[in-house]
Amino acid sequence: MVDSSLIYADIIGAVLSMGGLGLIFSILITLANKKLHVEENPQIEIVADLLPGANCGSCGYAGCANFAENLTGGKTQLSACPVCGPDAAEKIARILGVEVESGERRVAIVMCQGGDGTVKKKADYEGIQSCIGATFVGGGERACSYGCMGYGDCVTVCPFDAIHMNDKGIPVVDRAKCTGCGNCVEACPRNVIELHPLSHHVFVLCRNKDNGKNSRAVCSAACIGCKICEKAVDGIGFNVTDNLAVVDHEKYTRELVLPTEKCPTKCIVIVGKADEK
């Protein structure tokens, strides 16, 4: 049998050495903490806590804390984090949304209705099924050079599965799932997608700045710049510039007359419901 005094010596040795190390290092950390303390935006910590904490570096920043710092500072997008689950992403997007706007979630709006059957085809495109790819070779099949090309780059980059192509080749946003991360906005080479808070509910879904004759020639749902909408609201909320009507969301409210019915090409659309959250 092992001599019991040897056993005690072993145990005491282990306890003292481990305890000693623990003590020394904890004192070091305490001192370092005092000397190196940095005032930090409290929001950074809240956001950092919500992040996955895997410190994997995929976002391109040195760990989740660093990412949180840059995120709250507006230097990066939440979509840079591939590990972030939809629950956390929603919470963080809201926290960040608080900073940017008055507490409302933003969603993506696709400002185009020129899908198959509505827009004219100018060519047969056989190439990379990507919008940015098609841009290099003449812009794909659709005759309108301002509108959606339909190859789905926006769908590919959405981390939240919130945008999908419909059967006419126009992307449709699921307003419940969309977090307003902005990936699709960036991905669209024609800047057809915009982010709007839920309270904005009427949009002119067209980007075509050509005159009426030319825009009508390429798409049956194009804005022809006829100004009927502007006249219907006496210029409050709808303005036509460069042959394209644009909604001024500050001025236009639900109580005003809707130009939707009056628009000859039906390019003005009500999006979303009044009680949406």
Partner: protein, 362 residues
């Protein structure tokens, strides 16, 4: 409590608890681990020293030996552990031999992490269903009076110390042989010097080759004899007469032990050549003994000893040395190393000459 104190307390407490827990764990596991290691070693020892009533450990010159005794307390076998580098891992081998260190009884590979399916065959070859341990078994009753060598794809001759290498794992096979060869040489010397066991012949050393004895002599393997505890390597010609005698001299150099193989003619009147087989002198200075880059002939120092007459002692001169008088020049900047060589040669030539010339001729 304040944050700082809590910080210190939590970390220290965690460390202390960890230390406690692990030391209790150790109480439980250490004996088991040690018992297992002992069992492995004992199993291996009884297989490499078969039929021994008792096995005892002994240390000589800090090396561990295991002696197997029979019922009459005579040494029946000697075993030792040896280590070295394999192809990609450290190999640890237990070698069991007869009492005279002339024949390997058995080897056991204790540790290896070679390539699975290739190098691992040095321990066991599952592909060879009938005889998975065919490689280590080749060492059973292997004659090692000369170096162990390997053949590829040929039937080896055990009495000549040959074994067959593993196809596709030549480097691992060669490593095993090199490690055992080196250990045999070293351990034979140690046992010879420290015990009065009749240790038989050492395996031939790499250093012995025909050039050590001059090109006019017929190249043949040297025969190793021991006279009065001194080891000589004899070179014989076809008719059996001795044409050269060599021995190993050693001494302290500037910062390391230097070992020299000195080859002489049979009446010890002339040094035929010397070869430094071991040295670790200062790089660039003492190493000029073997490679003097400042001279057009880098091996000039050792060549001085070729055909050097030594009826008188070897001495150093500063001008052109006269070989008939046993004169040589030392290396500037490495006088200590050069002088050490000369001193050890003088001492050993005297001793070895006396013993050899006074031997009882049978």
């Amino acid at each position: 409590m304040t944050k700082s104190y809590r910080l210190i307390l939590v970390l220290t407490a965690t460390a202390v608890l960890s230390g406690l827990l692990l030391s209790f764990l150790n109480l439980h596991t250490s004996p088991l681990i040690e018992a297992h290691q002992n069992k492995v070693l004992n199993d291996a020892l009884s297989s490499v020293l078969p039929g021994c009533d008792k096995i005892e450990e002994q240390f000589y010159e800090n090396k561990q030996f295991y002696f197997g005794y029979d019922a009459q307390n005579n040494v029946k076998g000697i075993a030792f552990l040896t280590e070295g580098n394999g192809f990609q891992s450290k190999l640890r081998i237990l070698v069991g031999m007869d009492a005279g260190l002339t024949q390997i009884v058995k080897i056991r590979i204790l540790e290896q992490k070679e390539t699975p399916g290739l190098g691992t065959k040095i321990e066991t070859d599952p592909a060879s269903k009938a005889n998975p341990e065919w490689f280590p078994n080749q060492f059973d009753e292997l004659n090692v009076t000369n170096k162990i060598t390997y053949l590829k794809n040929q039937a080896p001759d055990k009495s000549a110390g040959e074994i067959m290498a593993i196809t596709g794992a030549t480097i691992s096979s060669k490593a095993v042989i090199d490690i055992i060869n080196a250990a045999l040489i070293e351990n034979s010397m140690i046992l010879k010097n420290n015990t009065d066991l009749k240790i038989g012949v050492c395996p031939a050393i790499d250093a012995i080759n025909e050039t050590s004895f001059g090109p006019e002599l017929v190249p043949e393997g040297a025969k190793i004899v021991t006279i009065d505890n001194k080891t000589y390597f004899l070179k014989k010609n076809d008719s059996g007469s001795v044409t050269g005698v060599a021995f190993i001299a050693s001494g302290e150099g500037f910062q390391s032990t230097i070992k020299v193989l000195a080859c002489m003619n049979p009446d010890f009147s002339k040094l035929l050549s010397i070869e430094i087989i071991e040295q670790d002198e200062t790089e660039g200075w003492g190493t000029r003994l073997v490679n003097d880059t400042t001279n057009s002939d880098p091996e000039w120092f050792l060549k001085q000893f070729t055909d050097l007459y030594v009826q008188k002692v070897i001495s150093t001169v500063t001008e052109t040395p006269n070989k008939q008088n046993g004169e040589v020049q030392s290396i500037s900047g490495a006088t200590v190393s050069s002088d050490a060589i000369i001193k050890m040669l003088n001492a050993s030539i005297q001793g070895y000459r006396a013993t050899y010339l006074n031997r009882k001729v049978n």
